[in-house]
Structure formats: structure tokens, C-alpha cells
């Protein structure tokens, strides 16, 4: 089995996919090492769910290769799915079932089903076998979905926006299950989310998707070391232009920007004389995300806002 030699739980290379001529995935490479908690972030429509659907065998790759736990999830669908746990944001559980029936069904599907663990989770989540899924709250139904996704102790747990729209306590249970899955003998978790503070806490590595491409894969530690935020005061009211600094945000004379220390020496920023540095501080994942995911739009805004200032300069 080469799955143990390559050390990757997920290995996607050059994956492209179009729907009716519209590009959904564009040469995506995704390498998720075993034992990591990997975060997939991006705006709505960036392609996260399409990518994840390729991993569980719902979509066949048009070009490129997809390997999950060393296997092709389309060809080897059964073998992949029995070792993967999957939870999506959609309420996809059969709502006419009772919790107990759902558990019995899952036990039949997954040969590694752990009855003791399932009972423990049932108790922990405050669920009862006689509860009808239809009559449960959204948070409890998500917990039932989570139980079914993890009680066979999958080698790879895939969570597609598991916590969107859930109450804080339900999110708490989901995050705790993620941590426990990984500290248990190095299982792997792929976690897509819009809740960036959760990604920041839980993930060790993250990939940022934008319009069908993965534009950056970076460890969370490296992100915090490579990037930081500066606050500046500018004589003009347009966003300053400083090499190695992007994602300007602000109004009037005060602006904040994101410094990429791989592009510029952050201790020797080449600030134009019209710009004064007020402070430098560490960056939040949310700020980094906004600067990266909205990069192109920012540039357009700068071009537009430059027009009136040029006119003003002519005087």
C-alpha cells in the first residue's frame, strides 16, 4: 500500500472541473499530511464544496488525479467511504428516522463502528435513541450527524462548513470532536469553514481558495510569522502604495495594510514621504483572509479612487 509511504491522507494534483463551460476548479493541488487538521477557506462559490465532493467520490475528476488514503474515491468508493467520516452543512439526514435507527443504519454501513463510543457520544450530546430527527433542533441534528460521522473512528474526517448556522454550544462540541479525532492516534481532519477564528484555533495548516484555485497553502504558524498588519497615516486620502504591502483598508487619512515579509523587509518598509507609520501589529486570520481573498477587488478600488486624486493634483 503506497498510502503509508507517501504520508498524505489527501493527494490531489492538477484537478480541474467545469460545469457547463463554467470553471469551478482550476488546476487544484491539495496535499494533506496525515495527522493534520487542515482548514479550507474561501468566499462562497470559491470551489470548496466542489473540491470536497471530489474527495468523497461524488464527482469524477475531468482532469487531474484525486487520491484519498491512497485510493481513487470514484473507483474504490466503498473502501474510501468506510474509512472517511463526512459531515456537511446541509441537513442531509433522513428526517423521518429516529436517532436510534440512524445509528443502527450507520453501524451496518461501517464495519469499524464503535458501539461504546457511539453510546458515549449519544450521552455527551444529550441525544436519545427515541428522538425523531425531524423534531430535533438544528444544533441537535448537527450533533446526530457528527455522531454518525465519527463513531466509526474514521482515518479521515471531512467537515464541510459543519458549524455554519449552529449555536455556540453545538460548535463547541464539533470543535472538541475535531481535536479529539486528531489527538487520537493521528487521524486527519479536513475542515472547511467561514468561521475564521475557529479555523485559526483548530487548524495547523490552511489553504485559501479563490475562484476555483488554491492561491496559497500555508501553516497557521507561518501565516502569523510571515504576515502582519501596519497602520499608517497618509497625507492623501487614497490608499498608500507601498511595495510588499497589500489589502489596504481605511478611510480618510488613516489606513491599515498587510505586510508580506517574504516580499519586503518589514523593518525597512519603503514608505513614501507622504506616509507615516503609526504602528505594527500581529495579524488575525480574518484580516489576512480579507486581504487575500479580496485582493483583486481592492486593486480595482485603488485604480478607481486614484482618478479623482490625479485630477486634484493638476489643480
Amino acid at each position: 500500500m503506497n498510502e503509508h509511504t507517501d504520508g498524505l491522507a489527501v493527494n490531489v494534483n492538477g484537478l480541474s472541473r467545469s460545469f457547463r463551460g463554467k470553471v469551478a476548479l482550476d488546476h487544484v493541488d491539495l496535499h494533506i499530511p496525515r495527522g493534520s487538521i487542515f482548514g479550507l477557506v474561501g468566499l462562497n462559490g470559491a470551489g470548496k464544496t466542489t473540491l470536497i465532493r471530489h474527495l468523497i467520490g461524488s464527482f469524477r475528476s475531468q482532469t487531474g488525479t484525486v487520491r484519498v488514503l491512497g485510493m481513487d474515491p470514484v473507483v474504490d468508493c466503498v473502501n474510501v467511504l468506510k474509512r472517511v467520516g463526512y459531515l456537511t452543512e446541509e441537513d442531509s439526514l433522513p428526517t423521518w428516522m429516529r436517532v436510534g435507527e440512524l445509528i443502527d443504519f450507520a453501524r451496518g454501513v461501517y464495519q469499524d463502528w464503535d458501539d461504546v463510543y457511539a453510546t458515549k457520544l449519544l450521552d455527551l450530546f444529550g441525544l436519545s435513541r427515541t428522538d425523531r430527527l425531524r423534531s430535533l433542533s438544528k444544533g441537535l441534528r448537527a450533533r446526530a450527524g457528527l455522531l454518525v460521522a465519527i463513531a466509526h473512528r474514521p482515518e479521515l474526517l471531512i467537515l464541510d462548513e459543519p458549524s455554519s448556522g449552529l449555536d455556540p454550544l453545538a460548535r463547541h462540541d464539533i470543535l472538541e470532536a475535531i481535536i479529539r479525532a486528531v489527538s487520537d492516534e493521528g487521524r486527519t481532519v479536513l475542515f472547511s469553514s467561514h468561521l475564521l477564528d475557529e479555523v485559526d484555533r483548530v487548524c495547523d495548516t490552511l489553504a485559501l481558495m479563490r475562484v476555483g484555485r488554491i492561491i496559497e497553502t500555508i501553516s497557521v504558524d507561518a501565516m502569523h510569522e510571515q504576515y502582519h498588519e501596519i497602520t499608517c497615516r497618509s497625507d492623501s486620502t487614497a490608499a498608500p502604495e507601498v511595495s510588499g504591502v497589500f489589502g489596504w483598508r481605511g478611510e480618510g487619512h488613516e489606513w491599515t495594510g498587510v505586510v508580506d515579509s517574504a516580499q519586503t523587509d518589514s523593518n525597512k518598509l519603503e514608505l513614501p514621504s507622504s506616509v507615516t507609520l503609526i504602528s505594527q501589529h500581529s495579524i488575525t486570520l480574518e484580516r489576512w483572509f480579507a486581504a487575500k481573498a479580496g485582493h483583486e477587488r481592492d486593486n480595482q478600488n485603488i485604480e478607481r479612487s486614484n482618478v479623482p486624486t490625479e485630477v486634484a493634483d493638476v489643480r
Binding site: D197, R201, T284
Partner: protein, 130 residues
């Protein structure tokens, strides 16, 4: 350990280091006390286990905690001798901040010291070990 993680502060491992260090240096945790396991604290705080491991490594590097093979992580026995220098070091950034602010507001150092003395009278006298 009830560690508070803020989403808008310094890196998470740093927040953990700061709060554990504070507990050790201020005497809330004593020599030989056992810290939570990496796994236990990760689950409790819902934080990546690597982040906890990194924080513990940093504390170990500072000499505040020691790993004992197979049993866990404990507050180091030798903390007491190290703390004088360490406590001074911890004051550093706060003193710098105070100095920068007072200069910006036009106080010289003597005036700042006088202000400190005045404010100090509002607190009960310090009677612990110095």
C-alpha cells in the same frame, strides 16, 4: 486551567505561554505542580494540539516547566531562583509602553516616578517575599 483565548490578540500559543507563565511567576502554580496534558488542554480550549505543544516547549525553554518522561509536564523545581531576573524581564515591555506614553504626553522621567509613587499609595502595601 481556565485559560482565556482572545481571537484578536497575539498568536494563540503566545497567549497560552503568557497566562501559564503568569500563574507560575505569581505563585498560583507551585514547583512540582502538574500541568494539564497537551491533549487534555487542547480539547478543553478547542485549540490545535501542536499549538499547546509549542507553548509548553516555549515554557520549557524558559525553564519554567519540565517534561518528565512518560508522566507529563510539571512546574520546574528551580523556578524560584530564576524568577527575579525573569520577573524583571516581564516588566520590560510594560515599562517601555509607559515611558513612550508619558513622553508623548510631555512628562519627564522624574514626573513619571512621582506619579507612580502617588498611585502606589492607593494600593495596600506589599508584604510578600521580594
Amino acid at each position: 486551567m481556565q485559560i482565556h483565548i482572545s481571537n484578536d490578540g497575539p498568536p494563540i500559543y503566545q497567549q497560552i505561554v503568557d497566562q501559564v507563565r503568569f500563574r507560575i511567576v505569581s505563585g498560583v502554580l507551585h514547583c512540582g505542580d502538574e500541568l494539564p496534558t497537551i491533549r487534555g488542554l487542547a480539547e478543553h480550549l478547542r485549540v490545535n494540539p501542536n499549538t499547546i505543544a509549542r507553548a509548553y516547549r516555549e515554557l520549557e525553554h524558559e525553564g519554567l516547566v519540565e517534561k518528565r518522561r512518560t508522566t507529563g509536564t510539571f512546574v520546574a523545581e528551580s523556578v524560584q531562583q530564576r524568577t527575579a531576573a525573569q520577573r524583571r524581564q516581564m516588566m520590560g515591555p510594560h515599562l517601555d509602553k509607559l515611558l513612550i506614553l508619558s513622553r508623548q504626553l510631555g512628562f519627564d522621567t522624574e514626573e513619571l516616578i512621582a506619579l507612580l509613587r502617588k498611585h502606589d499609595q492607593r494600593f495596600p502595601p506589599l508584604d510578600g517575599p521580594s
